[in-house]
């Protein structure tokens, strides 16, 4: 019988560690419900909000702090907000933050896609640091990079060609 706690944690995705303890990229493509709500719900189910730090990074706006305080269990003293000037900075900040290993959960809401090489880096760092990175995007991300997808796919796909940075192919 398998134990839920693996005495020898491994980076191998077939190890017996519960999936919630591993990091990775999670795409949120929720329809009907709010994408943000779906991401917050998923993160609060897997993390203890009082013991870990959360990061929100976006370029078009911010997570509404008062609404989070009123309706969610995430304490604002554990949620760092970053408002970037452009989508490139959003992706860069998310990678920097994941590399520090300080954040258990990172919510990324960029207005544009990034090069797939950057996405791959983000995936590797997230898995190494056991950090869950929620990608709240309007475009679909290659499924082999994702640990999980919340919500139905829309039919848009991120180009995986090397030079197709910031483009979404139909």
């Amino acid at each position: 019988m398998y134990s839920t706690v693996n005495p020898l944690p491994s980076s191998n995705s077939y190890s017996f560690t519960p999936s919630s303890a591993k990091g990775g990229l999670i795409q949120v493509l929720s329809r009907g419900n709010s994408k943000t709500e779906a991401a917050l719900l998923e993160s609060t189910q897997t993390q203890k909000a009082n013991q870990s730090y959360f990061l929100w990074v976006a370029d078009e706006g911010v997570l509404y702090p008062e609404a989070v305080h009123q309706e969610w269990e995430i304490p604002l003293s554990h949620l760092l907000f970053v408002k970037a000037a452009e989508p490139k900075e959003v992706w860069k900040t998310a990678l920097d933050a994941a590399q520090t290993g300080l954040f258990q959960t990172i919510f990324v809401r960029p207005s544009q896609a990034c090069p797939t090489a950057h996405l791959r880096k983000l995936q590797l760092v997230a898995e190494k640091q056991k950090c869950s990175i929620f990608l709240l995007t309007s475009f679909e991300i290659p499924h082999w990079m994702l640990k999980k997808t919340i919500g139905p796919a829309k039919g848009q796909r991120l180009s995986t060609k090397r030079n197709d940075a910031y483009s979404v192919s139909p």
């Binding site: 329809r31 009907g32 709010s34 994408k35 943000t36 709500e37 917050l40 730090y53 976006a58 078009e60 706006g61 911010v62 997570l63 509404y64 702090p65 008062e66 609404a67 989070v68 305080h69 009123q70 309706e71 304490p75 604002l76 003293s77 554990h78 949620l79 760092l80 907000f81 970053v82 408002k83 970037a84 000037a85 900075e89 900040t93 920097d96 933050a97 520090t100 300080l102 809401r109």
Partner: protein, 412 residues
Amino acid sequence: MRTLYLHSTEPLTLFAESCLTLTPKVSLCGACHLYLDIDPTLRHFGSEENFMQKFEELAGLFQIRSKQRVLTDRPEWAQALLGGNENLLAPGESASVLKLLSVDRLLFLGDPFVLEKELSQRNDLIRFLKKVGIYFISDFLALPIETIHHRFGKMGEVLYAWAKGSRTLCLPFFYSEEPFYEKIETDEIASLEALLFLLKQTLNRMEVRLQARSLAARALHFVFHFESNPSATKVFSLTEPVREAQTLLRLLRDYLAHFQWESPLTQVELSLRDTVPHLPGQLSLLENSENQFYDLAFFVSRLRNQLGEKNVGFAALQQSHLPESSYHFIWPPARHEEKRDSFPKRPLFIFTPPKPFHPTQEWKLSLTEKLHVEWWETGGSREYFRAERGSESLWVYREAQQGAWFIHGTFD
């Protein structure tokens, strides 16, 4: 090597020490010529503009009145480029600007530590250059290198190399041993609050200097001078080393509140003699939260430097019914109040700034709430609607005065 140069007629020793918080490569020549190599910390600050902003903040704190500064590609060109007040040149622009200068500026070109020694030699050379019809540095640089030594001697060759940029200047690093000491004139002070206000400036300067030397204070030595009574010396010992001005000010407020003066206070001397190396918290082998918080502080300060303090931080809630005014970003995080009894249904994501919206027939609008903006702001009241079209669901408002529509948030 991007270099920021500042010239002042007043001594810059204390200010130079504070600049060690901006970059480790600080050089001071003759107490009045300050050189900062901004390359090592440029990535930390994000851009030259951010670096300059921090530099100006420090200059304001240390009351540096001089506006004579140059931002250039090479430190040996800095003094020569100082024509008027500010001369902040973009990367790669300095060489072309230098070439347009008069040969008189050769007087200030090169190693600032030997300028005085070479002054007469340089003056002779400049006179000779003008005599033979060379009036601009570009003309001087256009001469063939073979003739420079033959026609203008060793000094001509050295200046040619400096102007050409073929020699590299290595300035000695600045190291300060100035005591932590300041005098405060208190003739016109009538209350404790006024004294604390003056002390705040002094403590802010002390904090930056302590930070530059990575020290923390264990005791503050005060000497109070009175109009008629003899001076009084007081030592304010701290239970643990501190360097933050805010903390010291809070402690001093309680400490000074117990003092009674029988004669008007004329001057206060403040010195920090007892300092220890600054250690960021007692770190436990078993408990990791302090380490984590220290790392987080470093990460947040880096982001705040890069993206601006208004754009990064933990949210502190404010009493306002307007969504955009109901919070601001701070560091370190603060404790939060209890939840409100009632909170209207609002989206989790809000656009900053709001985006323009064009309501068409396709959008189904339903009124959610009405908000009044502050009386000093334009726009009047706002009518908020939930706008739905297929799977899209937006939070939009219409300004009462101008009738303009904006998207303030999204429920998606």
